[in-house]
């Protein structure tokens, strides 16, 4: 049997989840829909059955003893796992982003130090190679020179330092 198009509202209506205009519209529909009416009647039977079954109460003395037991139980402690869980939900993404930022900064600074050390080191030991020689050597290597080659052809201290720094920074000669 094909179900009524409004059938899905029947349960919501029965459970008090329909309000305002939706409730009024469904009540209007209900007057002419035997299927939805039958469903509501079934819901009432089921509710009656469950309430009959669950018509029990805890002993007053049981509840009193239980509340006393809770009052004298060891105080709940915020264990690390639950503490961490509650904290991590809010702060873990921010902490991860901060750690990434710090490690990126540390990496950039360390690379800068390497460049300065390398330039300073090479410029101390090679003072007789011209910029032109360096340029030619670089061109013969496809515009990419490596430190060992620079150490052979390096000339003027200041110019070499500038060029070497440019190369290390990704610039071409």
């Amino acid at each position: 049997m094909k179900k009524c198009a409004q059938f899905r509202f029947a349960q919501r209506y029965y459970d008090g989840e329909l309000t305002g205009q939706n409730k009024a519209l469904f009540e209007k529909h209900l007057k002419n829909c035997p299927e939805c009416s039958a469903f509501l009647s079934d819901c009432e039977n089921i509710a009656g059955a469950i309430k009959t079954f669950a018509d029990v109460s805890a002993d007053e003395s049981f509840l009193v003893k239980l509340s006393e037991k809770v009052l004298i139980a060891p105080k709940p402690r915020l264990v690390f796992s639950s503490y961490f869980n509650s904290i991590s939900r809010r702060f873990l993404p921010a902490a991860a982003a901060l750690m990434m930022l710090v490690s990126s900064l540390a990496f950039i600074l360390s690379r800068t130090d390497v460049k300065h050390e390398a330039v300073s080191d090479i410029s101390k030991h090679h003072k007789d190679i011209s910029i032109e020689t360096l340029r030619n050597a670089s061109l013969s290597n496809g515009n990419s020179i490596i430190p060992s080659e620079i150490s052979v052809i390096m000339g003027d201290e200041g110019d070499a330092a500038v060029i070497f720094y440019d190369v290390l920074s990704g610039g071409n000669l």
Binding site: D15, A47, A49, S57, L63, L66, S67, A73, P76, L78
Partner: protein, 176 residues
């Protein structure tokens, strides 16, 4: 929102009965319901620091009650020799056969049959029905207590009612 042991003790005195009824409806045995209700509140007491006030205390404790009762049922079922399927089938069979036992009070018979019919539902279906019909919780409260969507609450309620209707229909027709 911070709650302390005193708040929980007050809740036990004012609404502990509701939790007891929920647990009983899940288990169908008064003595077991007392034991498990006690376990529920001791567990809730230990977990108080985790309560963040995103729902009411009652809704939160209903969630604890469901988890503790479900674990209890699972432990109990594991101890049984029979498989869960055999258990559910026999529960359904006896729901009808016991109607014929003479000398029993009609109300008690009906109650027992309803208990068995409820036990035949899956835990997830039974609990939404009990929360709705016994404790009159809204879809939203059930959804928060069980950590499921409102749509899932609706569909589980619908299926639970359909199953229960199929089991209870013969009881009502015999009673007429």
């Amino acid at each position: 929102m911070f709650l302390n042991t005193d708040d929980l003790a007050k809740y036990i005195m004012s609404d502990g009965d509701r939790i007891f009824r929920t647990v009983y409806s899940m288990l169908g045995d008064l003595h077991e319901a007392e034991d498990v209700t006690q376990e529920v509140f001791l567990k809730a007491h230990q977990s108080l620091p985790e309560f963040r006030g995103e729902s009411s205390l009652g809704t939160w404790i209903h969630g604890v009650a469901y988890n503790v009762t479900r674990d209890y049922i699972r432990r109990k079922m594991r101890r049984r020799v029979r498989s869960i399927n055999d258990e559910q089938n026999s529960v359904l069979d006896s729901a009808f056969s016991e109607l014929d036992v003479e000398g029993r009070c009609k109300k008690n018979m009906l109650k027992e049959s309803i208990a068995r019919a409820l036990q035949a539902l899956s835990e997830s279906h039974r609990v939404v029905l009990v929360m709705r019909e016994v404790n009159e919780m809204s879809y939203s409260e059930i959804s928060q207590a069980l950590g499921i969507s409102v749509g899932t609450v609706e569909s589980r309620l619908f299926r639970a009612r359909e199953k229960l209707k199929a089991v209870l229909a013969p009881l009502y027709s015999e009673g007429d």
